[in-house]
């Protein structure tokens, strides 16, 4: 059976695309799938450091697309998680070195070898975005609960619709205490504004910084709330659709409970 190409995108930078790609990819591999994560952020690669594989790069996606090496040579196998592979971006080239036709050719090869191929798209909606989307079967849009990120997500969702892709949404970095106080948009508000299907909710978690610092995939930290959220997202992607979407909750004290009863939070 052919694999599925899923693009992870957001419009705005810095909302967690790369962390999400690494985490969902690792979690899908832990579920027993053959997974390739592709860094499409040419010139600004980072998926390699987030996964802790930066010291093993020889070839990259630009080399494969431009036939300077074959696919197998560019695939870096993760030694901690079985069946997880990375194709890094090149660091020196500019974004114009990839062509849509070239990406589609490589995508076909990837689909015959893997169950899931995750494309980590660059920020923005220019050529780099186009190249990440061109071969995608499905799309995941990431946003955080703030005005600028949601506005950019709306733009990207529109662009995906115009390519007949119906994306699903992950709301990242939710701070439940702020949502409870009415200081932050809730995930219901975000869905209401964007009118899109939800794939998962990820709470703000300091462990993400630690995990990026050490290069140890987030989903391998059992204590990490964000890691747990990404594992559930991967399960849902993998066909376990009845896994409920868990809403991040605040550690509630007596006062919070009383004020919730009185309806002072809305």
């Amino acid at each position: 059976m052919e694999g599925k190409i899923i693009v992870v995108t957001s419009g705005k930078g810095g909302v967690g695309k790369t962390t999400a790609t690494a985490s969902i990819g690792a979690a899908l591999a832990l579920e027993g799938n053959r997974v390739a994560v592709i860094d499409m952020d040419i010139g600004l690669r980072n998926l390699d450091v987030v996964l802790g594989l930066e010291n093993r790069i020889v070839f990259n996606i630009v080399d494969v697309v431009n036939k300077r090496c074959n696919l197998a040579q560019a695939l870096i196998r993760d030694r901690r998680i079985e069946n997880l592979f990375l194709v890094p971006a090149s660091q020196s080239d500019n974004k114009d070195v990839l062509t849509a036709i070239g990406v589609q050719r490589v995508a076909k090869m990837l689909k015959s070898e893997f169950d899931y191929i995750l494309m980590d798209s660059p920020a923005g909606i220019e050529k780099g975005f186009e190249n990440s989307v061109v071969a995608a079967d499905e799309a995941i849009v990431i946003c955080t609960p703030d005005v600028s990120s949601i506005r950019d997500a709306d733009r990207v969702i529109g662009l995906l619709y115009s390519r007949s892709i119906t994306p699903k949404l992950i709301v990242n970095r939710i701070v439940p205490e702020m949502v409870a106080r009415g200081d932050m948009l809730s995930h219901e508000d975000v869905i209401d504004v964007l009118s899109i299907d939800l794939l998962g909710l990820v709470p703000m978690d300091n462990q993400v910084v630690v995990s990026t610092n050490t290069g140890m995939p987030l989903v391998m930290h059992n204590q990490s709330l964000a890691g747990q959220a990404f594992r559930r997202i991967a399960k849902r992607l993998n066909g376990e659709v009845d896994i409920p979407i868990k809403v991040p909750t605040a550690r509630t004290g007596v006062w919070d409970k009383i004020s919730q009863k009185l309806g002072l939070n809305r």
Binding site: D146, V147, I150, R151, D154, R155, Y161, V179, R181, G182, D183, M184, L185, S186, D189, D192, V193, S195, W255, D256, I258, S259, L262, L264, N265, R266
Partner: protein
Amino acid sequence: MLHGLMRKFSGKQSPKETAKKRLQFALVYDKLEINDTTLTSLQNDIVEVISKYFEIDTKALQLEVQRDQDLSALVFNTPILCVKKNRGFKPQESKK
């Protein structure tokens, strides 16, 4: 809790409500490539037309954005106080 209590009595919007309103309108501005001035003058024109036929409370008028999968709608909401008797027809002199 104190925040919530103070907000409730001061009648102020929470940051979340403000954010949602701003976002909804920003998305409309982006899509239609219009600005707030255009929207306000549209609102004024609509009020003018409606007031020809109905007595309305212009202060209670609300402009909202409703969004669906593939279209967004501007919704003007206004309480109608009463119907005007002359229905906006001005007495005209018959033409000769």
